[in-house]
Each structure stands twice: as structure tokens, then as C-alpha cells.
Symmetry: C2
Subunit: 269 residues, 2 copies
């Protein structure tokens, strides 16, 4: 396939390298390049959330008929709304996308062809998109390493991602801002490393992501704080039984996740 | 050296295997074994916090003069207090210890000889202990894989560990108890995996650990909840500037950690 990648940070750069590894004709463009996209079957727009719509509007007259234009940012409702109404008047398809892969360091220098190997790719297509472009996209994303393609609504994506990704970054950022962190050396191991890993995501990009999904992130944060506050109260009261009950709930919850994962693996295999 | 290990879960079992790997004469004992410890230079008591003092009192008449008895549980003030006053009347040494190593799965079946490789071993000796037993312990702990020996007060240990270990377990437990966790498959990647990893520690052992350090854990939890609440307020108010500021603080904090780590590596190398 002929693939154009616009925006060459960690994700765009990795799509470029993974596409080449898969044998596609792939070309990368910086976000401010003047370029002709008329030979591209797939155009991946790998830019910060608020830069995507203007870029697509500015370059769309060169898109070929039937091309699939996929953004890969972490919130899916705003662009879905932006491209919803003029869907029928266009000859190219806009499909929201979110690769479930990343690193705690960004930029083209950290891009690798194997970044997506084994990961899940989420697509939030307009209902009018139809089978053909989605089949092409599924084939492409599997070819660059994704093990799973999830097709869902932008609403469900944004609710899930508030928990599976954004809350993790919020938690990690709040964790490493603890004053005692400065003295951790010699007093820490794996759980500290895991907790600190994604604590410093790019503030510009992640402020946009948090703002565009603030309803979902605030909701999941309220429930999360409630569970921590419950533990804090139990600690202050010296209530061992209540502490035990919260830990038991964690064990039960993790056991449920494990059973579901095993059932899913069984169903696939 | 002749090493006895009492208590054969993940940590005790790993000390047993690592001691054998290092060429020591090592023997493991279940916590309820009747045994004679008179040939042991080092006795490692790898049991849940509240079981340690009774075990030591019950077996101490067989300890040889000069033996170093080390517990390896995650809170250090209570046993320090318990063995503080009769220090001068004993011929063996009690030294609090805490290996900065573990796994999200416990038990002897998961024990490995390399569990401590590269990790830090914290010791909280009584001030009367003196140089000789601590030199022996340092030599032993380095021989089983530890890269660093930290000697500190039980108070400083407990304050630090509330943040570097206990808070991580509390955070992870609260994270996986979110109802949306059941649907994470296809919507998650590394940050979810990291966040969920230590969410289900043994409720009996960790209730003891949390209770014995509840002042420190509650204090660090209050500050942590405050930072999360600050983000939640900014989200609810749609205050992008304030969200950006919290993320910037995370970046600055992580950069400080990196600089300190590099400086420490430079000083050692």
C-alpha cells in the first residue's frame, strides 16, 4: 500500500518505520510540509489533538478518492464531531484511530519499527464508512504489528481511555510530585519504577488530551479518589478490618481480570 | 557462612536459593519447625510482621553468641522498639532489614536465586551493634546479589517506605477496583499493566504492614490525594493553565530524580 505519515514524533516515526518494515511504500512529512497526497491510500495524521483538523482541512484537496485518513491522537469525540456532518460530501474517509502503544520518551529519535507489535489498534469510524476502507485499514494495521483491531464508538473509547491511559498518567504525575521522591534512591524497587514511569508526559499534548476528555477523566478520578480516601480514613481510625476489606477487593478484582483474560485467550485460540 | 532462614515464602525461599548460589551453607526452616540454630552465623526471619517477635523469643535460647538475627519485613519501628531495651543483656544481635525486592506473586514456588540481584538492602541496626556484625551482614547481603547496603534509622525507613512501596500498593489496589477495569482488554497498554501490577498483595500481610506504619502512610496519602484533587478541580473548571502547571511539575520532578540518579552513578563510578 501507499502510506503517507504526517507528523513525525514518536508515533508518526514508528508508523513510518513499521510501514517500511512491512514492505509498504511509506513517506513521512513534517506537519508544515507542503505536499501532494494524491498517491496515498492511507494518510496517518500523527499530531497533537488540536493541530489535526486544521491540517486535514488545509491538505484535503490533494487527497485521492477513497483514501482513508486516520488520526492517532488519544481522544476521539472531538474529531468525530468535526468530520461528522460533511461526511457525505467528501470522497475520502476520515476514521478516528488510537494505537494502544507508546513510550515514556517522545520524539522521532525514539521511534522504532516494533512499537506496535502485539498491541491493540482502536478505530472509531463514522457509521457511513462501509466495509471496504475498514478492511483495508485492518489489513494495514495488522501488517505493521498490531495484534488486535477494536472498532467502537468515540464515546466508549473516550470513557475507557480516561481510565486505562489518562488516569495512569495523572496518577503517575501526582506520585512523582511527592517531596520524598527526591530521596528514593536505596529505598525503592519495581513498584516505585512502575509508578514513576509515565509521570512526565509532554505537558502541551497532555493538557489538550485531558481538556478534551475532561468529563470522563474527572468522573473516573472522583471514584478513584473516593477509594483512596476510604483507605486513608481506615488508616486514621486504625480500622484493620476495613483495610483488609479494601485489599480483598483488589485481590477479587484482579482475579476477575485474570479470568476474563484467560477466557478471551481461550476464545481466540 | 552458615545461614539459617526461618519462613519459606517468596522472600525466605529466595534467600535460601541465593545463599546456596553464593556457596554458603544455608538451611531453610518453616516457621513452626522445632530446630537448633546454634551453628548459624546469620538467621534470617522471613515471616509476616506480627509473627517475627514471638518466633525470635521462642527460639533465641539456641542462637549462638555473636549471631546476627535479621528480620526482613517491610516496617522497621515496631521490632526495633521490641528488641531495643534488652539489647545489652543478649549475646546475639537483632538487626532490622528490608530487601528492596519482590514480586507480585508470593510463595516458595515463585522464589528465585536472582531475586535480589542489583537491589538495595536496608538495615536498621541498634546503635550498640558495632562494626563487626554489620561488616559480616554487608558481606553476606552483597554475596547474595544486593548492589547497595543502606544503613538508616527505623523512623527514616518507615517514612520512606510509606511512599516508595506502601503507597504504590495502595494506588494500584485502588486503581484495579475501578468498575471499568473489567472491560480494559483492547483499550490498554503498558501504563495500565504497570498500574495494575502490584494491586493484589496478600491482604493479611499487607493489612499488618499498613497498620504498623499507618501514621506515615496516612500522611503521604493525604498529600497524594491533595494533588489528585487539585487536578480534578482544574478539570471540572476547565482550567487548562492549571492542568498544564501540574503536568509541568511532574516533568520538573522527574528531571530532578534523573539528575540525582546520574550524580549518584557518577559518584559511585
Amino acid at each position: 500500500m501507499n502510506v503517507a505519515i504526517a507528523g513525525l514524533g514518536l508515533i508518526g516515526g514508528s508508523f513510518l518505520e513499521a510501514s517500511k518494515r512491512a514492505g509498504h511504500t511509506a513517506t513521512g512529512f513534517h506537519h508544515d510540509d507542503e505536499a501532494d497526497f494524491s498517491s496515498a491510500d492511507i494518510i496517518i495524521v500523527a499530531m497533537p489533538p488540536l493541530a489535526i483538523e486544521p491540517w486535514i482541512r488545509a491538505h484535503s484537496r490533494t487527497f485521492k478518492d477513497g483514501a482513508a485518513v486516520v488520526d492517532v491522537c488519544g481522544v476521539k469525540r472531538p474529531l468525530f464531531e468535526a468530520f461528522r456532518n460533511d461526511y457525505a460530501t467528501r470522497k475520502w474517509h476520515f476514521v478516528g484511530g488510537h494505537p494502544m502503544a507508546g513510550k515514556e520518551v517522545g520524539g522521532f529519535a525514539n521511534a522504532t519499527p516494533d512499537l506496535f507489535d502485539g498491541a491493540s489498534m482502536i478505530l472509531t469510524p463514522h457509521p457511513f464508512t462501509g466495509r471496504a476502507p475498514l478492511d483495508t485499514l485492518e489489513e494495514y494495521f495488522r501488517s505493521v504489528g498490531f495484534a488486535k483491531i477494536v472498532i467502537t464508538s468515540p464515546e466508549h473509547h473516550d470513557e475507557m481511555i480516561a481510565f486505562t491511559s489518562q488516569l495512569c498518567h495523572a496518577i503517575s504525575s501526582a506520585y512523582i510530585r511527592e517531596p520524598l521522591a527526591a530521596e528514593h534512591d536505596g529505598y525503592s524497587a519495581g513498584s516505585f519504577r512502575d509508578m514513576a514511569r509515565v509521570g512526565a508526559p509532554d505537558p502541551d499534548v497532555w493538557t489538550e488530551l485531558f481538556m478534551l476528555n475532561r468529563d470522563n477523566l474527572a468522573a473516573v478520578l472522583v471514584r478513584y479518589i473516593e477509594r483512596l480516601e476510604n483507605l486513608r480514613e481506615a488508616l486514621s481510625a486504625g480500622d484493620a478490618k476495613r483495610i483488609h476489606a479494601t485489599l480483598e477487593e483488589g485481590v477479587a478484582s484482579k482475579a476477575r481480570l485474570r479470568r476474563r483474560a484467560e477466557a478471551a485467550a481461550g476464545a481466540e485460540g
